[in-house]
């Protein structure tokens, strides 16, 4: 099966070669999947440096547990499952220690370097920052379902498989997450309205 120009059988071959001791084969796997893993860690953690560290940790964990990988399962899904669990753990630790999740998260540097017209670029960055801030307000369990649904276009079944949960749990979390996002939008528009009234 070919996905985005990449044959998933290539993953299996590279996994087999890595297990036989070929580290370069693992390098090819990293090269192929780095973007999807990094995008997830960035959307979950909201900070470029921490996201890169979490993405690296995801690949290291995959390398260490490669022998446990089930070839009947998609390698991409397996990687995203590792990344999701790792990010949720980090967020829980973070909440317990030093960072308030209420803080707005900065936009990714890659988003500011696009070669679009300045106005379009500004709108894009603004909406991306708004999106990231809204994501940052969601609890980790809700955030991950939104990321997998919108950035990876995953079905309920695929999300359930990635998060090792049931389809009904995914539906429920998506519904709660959307409800929270709607409330957040309502609060934001009320705040904007009061700022506008103050100016008048």
């Amino acid at each position: 099966m070919v996905v985005d120009g990449w044959d998933v059988n290539d993953d299996l071959e590279l996994v087999t070669r890595t297990l036989a001791g070929d580290q370069a084969a693992f390098g090819e796997l990293v090269q192929q999947h780095q973007r999807i893993v990094y995008n997830l860690t960035y959307r979950m953690l909201g900070e470029a440096r921490e996201a890169e560290d979490a993405a690296q940790e995801t690949f290291l964990r995959a390398y260490e547990h490669l022998a446990r990988y089930d070839p009947n399962r998609s390698f991409k899904t397996w990687l995203l499952a590792i990344a999701s669990n790792h990010c949720i753990d980090r967020l829980r630790k973070r909440r317990l220690t030093w960072l308030s999740l209420d803080e707005p998260l900065p936009p990714h540097p890659a988003l500011t370097s696009k070669t679009t017209a300045p106005e379009e670029s500004a709108i894009e960055v603004e909406s991306s920052a708004a999106m990231q801030a809204m994501l940052g307000d969601l609890p980790p369990d809700y955030r991950i379902v939104i990321v997998l649904r919108y950035w990876y276009d995953m079905s309920y079944v695929e999300i359930a498989e990635t998060l090792e949960t049931t389809e009904s749990a995914v539906k429920s979390r998506l519904f709660r997450a959307r409800q929270a996002l709607a409330e957040k939008l309502q609060a934001n528009s009320a705040a904007q309205m009061s700022v506008a009234l103050e100016r008048v």
């Binding site: 580290q23 693992f26 390098g27 990293v30 090269q31 780095q34 973007r35 999807i36 990094y38 995008n39 960035y42 959307r43 996201a51 890169e52 993405a55 690296q56 690949f59 290291l60 390398y63 260490e64 990714h108 890659a110 988003l111 894009e124 909406s127 991306s128 708004a130 999106m131 809204m134 939104i146 649904r149 919108y150 950035w151 309920y156 539906k171 429920s172 998506l174 519904f175 959307r178 409800q179 996002l181 709607a182 409330e183 939008l185 309502q186």
Partner: protein
């Protein structure tokens, strides 16, 4: 809270997973309930915002960095092996001793177990005495060897022969090394 059911239907509708008959129910409700209409509008707004989601990429040297960390972990894993082995042996021995103790206590009772341990201690002392005799024998042999080596070292002929042998061996090894073919280095990439 009372309209949670309609909110759940909205979420399914956004994923195009709501059956047509339920869609009719939802839209009928939205026409009569302004609060749910407002929630629906905001859910659609969030859906549109997230629908434009842009994927971000890591830094250009990401793969190289991962591979450096993989190599570091491999080295650390190999270095940690003797410690792990020692820890496993100690833990294993401790577990065996505890298991034997518990089993002994269960099978023999406290008094018999103490007697059994005392008997094992006596046997151990006998074994140590035997080991002492073996040590004396080894000491004698080592003493004889030292005397013999001392005699050899005192002889100038032996010294001369040893030095000659070492010189010959060095020359021979150097010659072998020089005759070895040099591997050709192949540069990969531009």
């Amino acid at each position: 809270m009372a309209h949670d059911n309609y909110h759940a239907m909205m979420s399914l509708a956004l994923d195009r997973a709501l059956p047509p008959e339920e869609q009719c129910i939802l839209h009928g409700h939205l026409e009569t309930c302004p609060a749910c209409r407002s929630t629906w509008d905001r859910m659609c707004c969030a859906d549109a915002l997230f629908g434009q989601a842009i994927s971000v990429a890591p830094s250009a040297d990401f793969t190289a960095r991962v591979m450096v960390r993989v190599a570091e972990r491999e080295i650390a894993r190999h270095e940690a092996k003797p410690w792990r082995l020692a820890a496993a042996i100690i833990t294993g021995l401790f577990a065996v001793i505890v298991a034997l103790g518990v089993a002994g206590l269960a099978l023999l009772g406290e008094g018999d177990l103490v007697n059994g341990i005392m008997r094992i201690a006596v046997q151990g002392r006998l074994m140590i005495a035997s080991l002492g005799a073996a040590a004396t024998l080894i000491e004698t042999l080592v003493g004889a060897l030292r005397t013999w080596l001392g005699f050899l070292v005192a002889q100038p002929v032996v010294w001369g022969a040893a030095i000659s042998m070492l010189t010959l061996a060095s020359i021979w090894l150097g010659l072998i090394e020089a005759l070895k073919p040099t591997p050709i280095r192949v540069e990969s990439g531009a």
